[in-house]
Symmetry: C2
Subunit: 105 residues, 2 copies
């Protein structure tokens, strides 16, 4: 599994329009072979910053599969116009995960 990491800067004032477009566009990613999960989160400190995290079964599912698909063209057509600058995409492999931590609180 590989985690695609995309820090986004959305043109200030277009956040609501971007979120509405993303709500449509995310299905182009979700329906692509090898996609496991999609998460979009908004920055608390700087509200026009977002974080997009997408899990793929493999790096190839993203870079060879999705990026060469018509779905990718549709995805970019829906959301890329809200991004300035275009994001730098990186991929990460898990070292350690602790899910459902239950601290004594």
């Amino acid at each position: 599994m590989v985690l695609e990491h995309v820090p986004l800067e959305v043109i200030p004032g277009s956040e609501a329009e971007f979120e509405a477009a993303f709500d449509v566009a995310r299905h182009e990613v979700a329906n692509s072979p090898g996609c496991r999960s999609i998460r979009l989160a908004r920055c608390v400190e700087t509200p026009n910053r977002y974080l997009l995290l997408i899990e793929w079964n493999s790096l190839a599912d993203h870079v060879d599969g999705f990026r060469n698909s018509e779905a990718f063209t549709r995805w970019r057509g829906l959301v890329a116009r809200f991004w300035d600058p275009l994001p730098t995409v990186l991929h990460f492999s898990d070292v350690v995960r602790m899910d459902d931590v239950t601290a004594d609180d």
Copy 2:
């Protein structure tokens, strides 16, 4: 719930030592009230880059609670010496999550 986002640059050559130190230090975070999950992942493209993602019940659990605790001092004492520069920490709130996506592959 708030997602703490920490991009890390580890001094090249010290990655294995950092990961061993993190494996001890992560319990200082996990045992802090309000901590939900911890994830450390390593960059595919640039292997001395890491991504640390920590979920907290609230922003206050992180910034008022953990950062003012003795556990935070112990945590930093174990892992911060591997980071150059010190990271910029941001917090994010979920806009949309699609977990366990099952594409037709």
